[in-house]
Symmetry: C2
Subunit: 722 residues, 2 copies
Amino acid sequence: MTNFLSIKNFLVQLSILLLCLNVSAKDGYNLWLQYDYIQNNELRLAYKSNISNILALGDSETMQVALNELQLGLSKMLGTEILSQKDLKGENLVIFGTQSNLDKKLIKKLKKELEQINNEGFIIKQIIIKGKKHIIITGKTDVGVLYGVFNFLRIIQTHKSIKNIDVLDSPKVDIRMLNHWDNLDRTVERGYAGFSLWDWHRLPDYIDSRYVDYARANASVGINGTAITNVNANALILTPQYLEKVEALANVFRPYGLKVYLTARFSAPIEIGGLKTADPYDAEVINWWKEKTKEIYKRIPDFGGFLVKANSEGQPGPQNYGRNHVDGANMLAEAVAPFGGIVMWRAFVYSEHDADDRAKQAFSEFVPYDGQFKDNVIIQVKNGAIDFQPREPFHPMFGAMPKTPLMMEFQITQEYLGFSTHLVYLPKLFEEVFEADTYRAGKGSTVAKVIDGSLHNKKITGVAGVSNIGNDRNWTGHPFLQANWYGYGRLAWNPHLNSGDIAEEWIRSTFSNDTHFINPIKEMMLNSRETVVNYMTPLGLHHIMDTGHHYGPGPWVENLSRPEWNPVYYHKADKNGIGFDRTNSGSNATNQYAPEVADIFNNTATCPEKDLLWFHHLSWDYKLKDGNTLWDGIALKYQQGVNEVETMVHTWKSLEKYVDNQRFNEVEMLLNIQHKESKWWRDACLLYFQQFSEKELPEGVEKPIKTLEYFQSLKFPFAPGN
Amino acid sequence: MTNFLSIKNFLVQLSILLLCLNVSAKDGYNLWLQYDYIQNNELRLAYKSNISNILALGDSETMQVALNELQLGLSKMLGTEILSQKDLKGENLVIFGTQSNLDKKLIKKLKKELEQINNEGFIIKQIIIKGKKHIIITGKTDVGVLYGVFNFLRIIQTHKSIKNIDVLDSPKVDIRMLNHWDNLDRTVERGYAGFSLWDWHRLPDYIDSRYVDYARANASVGINGTAITNVNANALILTPQYLEKVEALANVFRPYGLKVYLTARFSAPIEIGGLKTADPYDAEVINWWKEKTKEIYKRIPDFGGFLVKANSEGQPGPQNYGRNHVDGANMLAEAVAPFGGIVMWRAFVYSEHDADDRAKQAFSEFVPYDGQFKDNVIIQVKNGAIDFQPREPFHPMFGAMPKTPLMMEFQITQEYLGFSTHLVYLPKLFEEVFEADTYRAGKGSTVAKVIDGSLHNKKITGVAGVSNIGNDRNWTGHPFLQANWYGYGRLAWNPHLNSGDIAEEWIRSTFSNDTHFINPIKEMMLNSRETVVNYMTPLGLHHIMDTGHHYGPGPWVENLSRPEWNPVYYHKADKNGIGFDRTNSGSNATNQYAPEVADIFNNTATCPEKDLLWFHHLSWDYKLKDGNTLWDGIALKYQQGVNEVETMVHTWKSLEKYVDNQRFNEVEMLLNIQHKESKWWRDACLLYFQQFSEKELPEGVEKPIKTLEYFQSLKFPFAPGN
């Protein structure tokens, strides 16, 4: 009777479970930390035969969260409660803790491995203690162990074997951070996933549980820093009223190894300090920043440092006082140096007073300062010389400042790539940048080696990604754009990773381990970046988005106050052809690259066609490698982009049975939007350029249904992120 | 062996279930539609013995969603899958459908009941068909049946018996709507729960699943209309670009009986119509609105109509052209009349050119127009004559326009009541307003009878509530403020309901049916409104909030451009005393009430002390009924407010075991904020008023730790909702 009742009770629970899962579990909130129950009996039993309980060594806050995560993940995946025990009873324990918590015998046994990892690295290894088999997860620091725990969970999430497990890894880059362009009113500049996560009004007393999940997600991919405020900065963040709130966030993030950074508005000494100047040579200004820094470190002992956008797009900076970037950066660097902080000084500068090609200005302004910055300054450089386009050649500054640490700035949020409604897998773009060869120390001098510091032995290394995260339930607005946060983190950890491998990890952790699903989805993701290039800016075209909000096509825009804000500045289409001549016959931007690279770009025969119109102005009749004229080639690329989105729609629809309802429907709706908008791009751009080429659309390209005037009339005054 | 495995499998599922519930189920998203599993075996079996399967009669969209809801709710609560069947097999079916889908015998049997309900009413009744017992849920319309289904579910959610069930109900008010002050950029004026639900950028192609859950929640309490845009309106909402998006929302809401209304910017004919004027006498203007209305109804055949804020706080209106409110409202009313639409014209007007007491201006401007509005116009009047204060005497317009329908406007969002961090149960406030006696048709002429139309036989009746809903995961920012949405809906359905009964329904549906939890929480909720009055504006004080954002105390503010925007205008504190003389010796606002009411308010002996300083300027030494001087009485009330919040904190902490972790922690943090802020209110106001009274704080009132200057220095430039 008891037995019968208990079975009945399970039936009841089971039905509730199914409802519960069905109703709310797959809204995307859990990101790649789904920890889905392993349905495959054989596999699940294999894991269980190697995992009994957990033994945590040490009880720091970080060890606590590592334990929670292991218990949650293993219990859900194995379908049984995995308990934590306090001693070495039994076998098949998952033991984790820092090196300092291991006994001497064990340290000796792991000596070789411990020598191979750095401070944030980890070891996961099957070991025998007193004749009994266990799995040890260890490292030199708490956070190293936490990364090991997440790595171990990922191995199981992706259904890899843990038999004789022996994994060792360390991050190749020191600073791996997110830049949030979040304003104090919770709007997010270039944010397309709702509004800022930071509920400033209710901080410090209300701690949204989402802050914890944000930190978990970052730690799971090795992100160790977050600049929580917009680079177009507000000085108020440095007042006690706000620092108290920042402190509360830092306290939440600390156990996860996530350091807080703030953006420093250069004029803060005036705006909130009551000084008359912000001149970096002024003794009062220097002192103000020192005192302010002390105040911050008193609240947040592990504060990371300042991120600064100065003398760029209207932001104040040292040049307002006749000083230069070195003066400004070094003044702040001195303030944070005693506390181990750093200054990330952005190189994204171009001036309305400089008539030179905008693509050249950052290099011209910064490279002469090589070697003049203090040791705790790192220059943050966007991946390309213009501004986060669907495709740009790598920034010429990479490799050109051997005595100065350079930090990569990627944009994860899709300002120029369809906002949060276009599925674009960005690690493919990041990988392309990292693999680019600067030739600065001979062939093989890749951007990855500049960034990981190996090319010129840099003292600090870093990668920043402009966050695509908002308060949308699924964090990124589009379930697939979670992969860009994930993949960014993985590449920041190791810029030499393969974007395809990362995609597969993500698909397995987020959706399914079924290869019938994985293979087509992985292919779709890997192709998606080229697809957006095709339907937006093929063959090296760039910055032809509509103005201000950058939503949709606007190649016709020519009325903005600064010439280099107008799309016509970038495509230079006329009766004779299209493209920006940056060779030695033009702006000579190619000259900023190493001679080997300049040669490749200068010559149409060697310049990759994907970058063709970035570097060359060519006639509409110019013959592409496939024999098509340039006009036909452009038109066919736009059409190809549209066709590829159509294929994505079909691929997704064919995989309905592998995906929960909610995410399936969401992605379906979003792909339909992407399809609609890819046609908008194709039609608007081709109709516009056709005015100059005066040629018919080639066969295979669909005729636009609407007119150019219609496209030009579209207005989006409330486009997000503006 | 099979048996063993299956038990094991249940164990596995059970543990996942527990994790699943523990991790994510109680984030508040499900509101009062938790449908918690009924743990009490006896009770659950009693329900199950009366409920087998479901039989839906009819297959309209509304019947579909009713079926889904019944299946979801019953299956979760009873812990077993409740199936839908197509015919009358078996017994104990829950049968639902409109009258027109019932067979003649059944209609005859229900004749008496059907005569008693109106078009949106419902009947839930145990019936015998062919000797077999069933439960029938029916009504005259689809939406009536849907309301019946939600009522049936509520009966089970609140653990009431369904034995011999026999329930019959109809709404007492026609239009029961939410007003969203949501802007097209997704900010929400006076919104404190994140940002707007409406993701305009991704509409119409992306349908957030939240839109459906919003409609479900509204239907569950009988709300049948939603004005989705701010009364401070943007004409763009009336352009095809936006109407396409509105149409998409209307399509989602329609099955739930939820009609869409829009706010009409009076100057729209100029701004988007290209006309030179918006004069309601101009033929082109009249025609423009007619054509615009036609265009809207073509997309949304059940469009509800327009909500208009005109010639109020800078909004354009008919007075810009020398016309009046009647001219403006009737012009729009004629445009929507052919389609069955209505115009809700707001009476919230006061002028910077009118030196008279702001409290009198709406009455003075509108009452003379009684009887001049078209039949499909309803005047929307705020509950009090100033602006949604913690307490106001009822608006003198109620009862004063016997020939004009008046609609109640409540504010559910807490602009003046602590934003979304203060637990205030507003149905207590709403009930106080509804119960107020206008004496306009003799004693017993309550505001409820004005609003339900029974006092003067009104042709249209309505209640509007300014929404407190945003994109925070739990909808309202604070788990307990969900009760204000719920309770508002229930009172809009029937203004004669008891706020305590509503609180109990809500607690049971949202948290627990355990009386150990219900009783103290219900008491806490019912007291909470008086508590906020005590620590903010006791004894009839009003509008002494800080300026602009209305966050925190600001009784000292006196520098705003319009006198009636300054707190000093309202409290008039000086050496001689405090309070606004609105008697016949002062502004004579009392004269706008019926003589019986005016007499009560005019005389300090009869004026309720809760309204004392609203109507009287009294000396600091004035003796209150309890023997205290006015100064001591004010101070003691502030202290009492603080003490009461302290009690709320203790009550909540003592009930931890009855609540899931997430909601418990959230409410605890929020109550701590409320406690902190109640002390801020007490200290800031008493220090300020003490300057005039020049008296010591009485015994029992805590001495402020900070100075008045400190409180006056506080600035909140990014307070939400501003």
